[in-house]
Symmetry: C2
């Protein structure tokens, strides 16, 4: 059955038969938005915004209709920059600054919000542009230098390193005393303040532009995504949304505020025990929320995304309002003279302006959801463990597959990444990758944030290392694991450096430390052995991880600059590495859960240790045993024994045999 989406009569007939109660014209709009949404998990989940339980025929028809909406969008051409300059002139400003971030300030953004990519062609995950009358620049970090050169029109765009040449300095220098437009929806309050100070210091002025001038010229802009929202049960969240609301309400009151406005979908999703499908890799709905000090919540979201079950689960203390009403709602808070808490690192300058402009008093403080979200409860911890054991079965199958097929020379980076996703997709509760898989062989493994393309794809060659960093979203937990595998016989240098990385990994895995110790204090433990050999790695040792939420979630980190104490219940990655440019990359990453340890013998001060929750073999062929201490060998052998006992039950006999071999003790 194939339906012509332009045929009103046929479409009306299909909608009626399928029980989809929207008019034809509206259906077309929504279908276009569904087509512009990220891939959904399970595959047909996106249909829920049209019908709760579609028949197989309806599914087939909807799939075909959606596929028909997919369009190839043209690459940027110089006319876009010209049009932007005209729009800026019309707005009476001398320049414009645009970050990649969207109004929710999350890590992954839907394509309709990627103004920077539309304008410049640059698709990296971080960047800022500045457009002045006679020059334009893209500011990126070290990992995107090459990609930016390939993707943007280098005649029209200067490329600068965002740390060495910060945008604010470059702008201040070239803007003179002019006016710089910015979209206050896209800049956090603190960042906007710093930008304003820098511009004003050289006699310039920062001017908010609403609407965003790019939105005015972006003719073929995709629709906003239309991911269905699902409610999570306390069976996976461990804490009801009403308990969470009560706790956050108390924190708001303690801060002396009457309410807080949330724009970060991670906080809203955690607080209300809901997940969405509007962003790739993280199951988030695009939404705003106003939480007041009684625990009542107004959720601003497209109503199509919620079905009756989710509405019922949210309860009568959570009112659903259309997404666009966040602005009048903030005006109302202001008119009532409310004191409103905003997090200067996540709430946007637009929120601050809207509230203060309407008469509200803004208190700046950390989003009260951040710390409770980071401290996983007992149910979340059970889910984390269970999700990791299932994930491990897929990883073990994948590693065995690599072992058996890579020596043929016909496995490529892209093929391997696809195989890994296939193995994972067979597991229960799988909801897709938690970030773009890094699948790098040989020299590509040395590119820390490598993302394989058809252009860069290469086989897993003999005598090379293959580095694969991947993760998954499961309803009960988010995973993130890196393994480095020898294809054929590794060099002794590769083995020595792998062993140094492993020693650092073990040092973090086995550390115990008193309450109050920060991630900044632990970071050197992972590097000490590399440092002694004159080596290092140019990224943090670990990042926080959410529960069926962002794979990068604060506030905890293991990084030299972190001042956040590690507390029991925090989930982190432990991922030291080593990268030889043009040669090979090594990274060994497990997730670790901070847990209470025996208190200090003398003072009784509580101590904290880590429980490793990731279970997959660490390639024994890359280890130089005599470089390890007895304790390190004991840890490795015990870890491998745990891998065997946890993962074997989910494996076929032949897979078990491979695992027994891969996890054999160093000291038998």
């Amino acid at each position: 059955m194939s339906i012509d989406v332009t045929d009103d009569q046929a479409l009306r007939c299909f909608l009626e038969g399928a029980g989809i109660g929207v008019p034809v014209a509206r259906f077309r709009v929504l279908l276009a938005r569904a087509a512009a949404s990220p891939r959904s998990y399970p595959e047909d989940a996106w249909m829920r915004v049209f019908v709760s339980e579609p028949s197989e025929d309806t599914k087939t028809a909807l799939r075909a209709l959606r596929a028909g909406m997919a369009t190839t969008r043209p690459a940027p051409d110089p006319s876009r920059l010209d049009a932007l300059r005209e729009a800026l002139a019309a707005a009476g400003v001398d320049g414009f600054i645009l970050p990649r971030a969207d109004e929710h300030q999350g890590e992954y953004i839907p394509s309709f919000a990627n103004r920077l990519a539309w304008l410049t062609g640059f698709t990296g995950s971080a960047g800022v542009i500045a457009v002045l009358r006679d020059r334009a620049a893209l500011f990126i970090d070290g990992r995107y230098t090459l990609q930016a050169d390939q993707q943007v029109d280098t005649e029209r765009w200067e490329r600068h390193h965002v740390i060495r040449t910060p945008p604010s300095g470059w702008i201040a220098e070239h803007l003179g005393g002019g006016t710089l437009g910015f979209d206050p929806k896209l800049h956090a309050i603190g960042a906007a303040n710093r930008l304003r100070a820098a511009i004003e210091a050289t006699g310039g002025r920062l001017v908010p532009l609403d609407p965003n001038p790019i939105d005015q010229i972006w003719a073929d802009r995709p629709g906003a995504p239309l991911g269905p929202i699902e409610g999570l049960s306390t069976v996976t969240t461990g804490l009801s949304a009403s308990d969470k609301r009560a706790r956050i309400a108390a924190a708001i009151a303690d801060a002396g505020a009457a309410a807080t406005v949330l724009n970060q979908a991670e906080s809203i999703a955690w607080l209300l025990n809901i997940r969405g499908q509007d962003t790739p890799y993280t199951p988030l709905p695009l939404a705003y929320a106003i939480v007041d000090s009684t625990g009542a919540v107004e959720l601003f979201v497209d109503p199509e995304k919620l079905d009756d079950r989710v509405r019922a689960a949210l309860g009568n203390q959570v009112s659903i309002r259309p997404f666009e009403e966040i602005r009048p709602a903030m005006t109302d808070l202001g008119a009532a003279g409310r004191t409103v808490l905003l997090d200067p690192d996540t709430a946007t300058e637009w929120m601050r302006m809207s509230l203060e402009g309407a008469g509200a008093t803004v208190i700046e403080a950390e989003d009260p959801c951040i710390l409770p979200r980071a401290l996983k409860n007992a149910v979340e911890i059970s889910g984390i463990r269970a999700a990791h054991v299932r994930d491990a079965a897929a990883i073990v199958r994948f590693l065995r597959w690599v072992d058996e097929t890579a020596p043929t020379g016909r496995v490529t980076e892209m093929g391997a990444a696809e195989a890994l996703e296939r193995f994972r997709s067979e597991g229960a509760l799988w909801r897709g990758p938690s970030f773009p898989t890094i699948s790098g062989s040989g020299p590509n493994g040395a590119i820390v944030h490598y993302r394989v393309t058809e252009h860069s794809d290469r086989p897993l060659g003999t005598g090379e290392l293959y580095l694969v960093d991947s993760g998954a979203q499961y309803v009960d937990g988010t995973t993130d694991i890196t393994r480095t595998v020898a294809i054929g016989t590794p060099s002794s240098e590769m083995m020595e450096r792998f062993t140094l990385v492993l020693k650092g990994h073990i040092a973090v895995a086995t550390v115990r430390f008193p309450v109050g110790t920060t991630g900044g204090q632990l970071d050197a433990l992972a590097r000490q052995f590399l440092w002694k050999a004159g080596l290092d790695f140019d990224h943090g040792t670990g990042h926080g991880v959410g529960s069926f939420l962002g794979v990068h979630e604060g506030p905890q980190r293991i990084s030299g600059t972190s001042r956040v104490p590690i507390q029991p219940g925090m989930l982190l990655s432990n991922e030291p590495g080593y990268y030889k440019s043009g040669g090979y990359g090594i990274r060994i990453e497990n997730l670790i859960l901070a847990v209470e340890a025996e208190p200090l013998e003398d003072s009784g001060r509580p101590m904290i240790g880590f429980e490793t929750v990731t279970f997959a073999p660490i390639d024994r062929r890359l280890i130089v045993p005599f470089m390890l201490t007895e304790e390190e060998i004991a840890w490795l052998d015990a870890y491998h024994a745990a891998v065997r006992s946890n993962v074997s039950p989910g494996l076929a006999p032949s897979e078990r045999d491979w695992l027994v071999e891969a996890t054999a003790p160093i000291r038998g």
Copy 2:
């Protein structure tokens, strides 16, 4: 020859004969100040303020005259607190806060500046008091709890832990909305701001009092110290004062200021290549200085302290003005509308008020002397090495003496400390201890800042550990070393914990790290082994050390909260420990010098390592060899070999034999 100091005629005759050109009455005043000054090094150095090259007869007479001035001062009685309350009422304030610090904000203060001890009897090195109409409190840290209970009148003084019950909170609670007097000369700008904010938050008001009300009631106050000032040659400083002045002048200009006012004697002494004798343990003159952006300096100091040679060495760009003229000089800076740099952590609120009140603009920034002072130059480094080798000979003699005499049971903590000072005093360029020696046996070793008194003194008992932490000032360097020694046979627990401390010490001694790494990142390396055993120590791993200056000198530290990058040329202590309350204490302390290491192999980024400059045996009888890795044993054996080769040349044959035994390799 004994002269009666009250006999005008005899005194006049002596002064004439000795060539001391001051009138009799003035001589008596100066002599009283000399008597109230700290012990001078060399012993008769204090006489230089009277005569440059005294004959032996003159020396004998001056010694006797000074001894005759020594007075025993009565202990505090309640009348002092009563008198203070009357003075406060007369000044119209409801309370008063007084820190132990003096107007130069240094670590050690002369007795005439110790208002807190005079009022309360408390002689600890850190404390704050608050006196209100009906209650008074002393705020101290954990190391002084017992001592405060013993020294102060507990009926009249509450004692509080300064962290758990901060003075500002206690005052705000009990002062209500009243007025709190403070002496702005004794509070740094930043501290005064925080205090003011806390008091004003509860409706109170902070009122500067000048003069200090205690100075008004302190009848038998000792005179200000009268230590002679000496000039240092570039043979030990490595950099002429004019080069230093040029460098600091440039930093002042770069900061947009016309001048800076210095009150910290450490900065003034470093900048002008002078040392004084006004403070115990650190060779400092009490002085102020105004440094302007041309490099000219006005030095405010008692002119008696300077002889012609020092004046000549200071040169015509340094003008000497009486100490008291610092105030009119600041008024002049203000009247001229100057912009003046002040360090909010070291300059006092009185300086800020005096400058701003007179019309100056104050820029707050770090004292520009701090970082250059911390980065020791090649000549200073040579001096550090040489001073440590000489110090090591004294330490080795002392350790041998302990080994041979302690088993008799007749060596006490006090006797040992005296013996150690005797050994040191025989060495060249010795200028006294760099801090009060910590000489603790058995349970006293577990008291981190233990200072032996006649009351606490106990023998070095068999089966106990003896901990001795001491240091010396030499003209070419400042030392600080801790050794823990087994008297008789140690328990296996003592040995295991000593070995854990040693492993942490070696981890710091051998670490290499990239430029930019902070002391906060390195601290955990020293603790990791203790932590794993459920143990820790409650102090930082290391502090900065000056060059013939303060034994505690910033900005560098190895401590979890330090955010200062370690740079080549910085001198630090490496002193992990373990303290079993009521049992024993362990600390192993060497000084380490940050030095350039081989750069990172891949990026060429500079790396830094440490060179250990302290040379003394680490007690092999306390080491459990199988707890050490091969690398750790290799470090220890190499360290002991270096001790032998560096120290043996300065020892007698029998001492050498002892040293050979004490430094024998673990792996022969």
